[in-house]
Symmetry: C3
Subunit: 138 residues, 3 copies
Amino acid sequence: MVVTKKISLETKGHCDIMDITHQVEQQVAETNVSNGTVTLFVAGSTAGISTIEFESGLLSDFEGLWERNVPRDITYAHDRRWGDGNGYSHCRASLLGASLVIPLSDKRLALGTWQQIVLVDFDNRPRLRQIIVQVMGE
Amino acid sequence: MVVTKKISLETKGHCDIMDITHQVEQQVAETNVSNGTVTLFVAGSTAGISTIEFESGLLSDFEGLWERNVPRDITYAHDRRWGDGNGYSHCRASLLGASLVIPLSDKRLALGTWQQIVLVDFDNRPRLRQIIVQVMGE
Amino acid sequence: MVVTKKISLETKGHCDIMDITHQVEQQVAETNVSNGTVTLFVAGSTAGISTIEFESGLLSDFEGLWERNVPRDITYAHDRRWGDGNGYSHCRASLLGASLVIPLSDKRLALGTWQQIVLVDFDNRPRLRQIIVQVMGE
């Protein structure tokens, strides 16, 4: 059985890290699938999906990681060409990845207690995001 | 239904970023699956798979990210031991990841308009790559 | 068909990189699935899963990558708040990712010859880890 659902989300951009665990769980609960996989995918090239312990200290630490390793304030060829100033957002998103797959077992996602599913919006402006939630199994 | 297909690709190595979106779409179109997941996986430990907006500015920016964060010109224990000079390629590939899963819905991949699927070949020489395209669903 | 299995693993923490290829292969062999996907997922927010050529040089190089890019010895807001000293572990794990999906074809995982599946435990102490191995297919 394959059920494809969608989460729509307004983000603030600028490394906005949004906990979508509850929304994913709700979408899964509405299906008749008990065992299988939940595939999450964000359409767009300036956002990514991962898991993190969702507490304010780590949100700031994770943003710091991106500022140090893929800085906003260096020159990007993308920006010279297109002028939209979000070359760093694209690079960060490609590194983090657009998809995440979580096993579902007896209607429960295999997450740890302090492990939340997050959308990270790296773009340099607020965005309306579509996250595909595809539940496949039996 | 499970259909396993393959894309063969000659790369130039040296952070060669190749757009495989069209080839993936073609392989998917040849199956009878309309809804499900498309799992991409590259066999080998010096290449990875991700998505990016495929335009020349970003290709150069993404390569810059790798040069800054996992430089070619520092000392790698792998190279001291095996002498093949591609320790940096292995490290980059392990960080980017070898797999990507994209939901398929009504025969369409859930990609954004400016979001292409890419193979990134980090090796220090041209390679012939095999990418598995596995389509599962109904 | 969906079969959900588990690997339990004692790690040493501190960027302990453990080859779980053989255990994954064994779990897969015990199922009746010949073609499909093997989804690996680590519950917890201080460990990740990837592939690497498992040789001692690269294990040390990969650890070096993490020390340079997400250093242990800078200040983390997580640590100021919770005092457990593993803010760097969380950040590394979120970047590497908690899941990996490998196609299975005629009972064989699509891995390259020098490509092993690894759990990377970034925590700052030994841990008992649970890795979900979910096999789905026919």
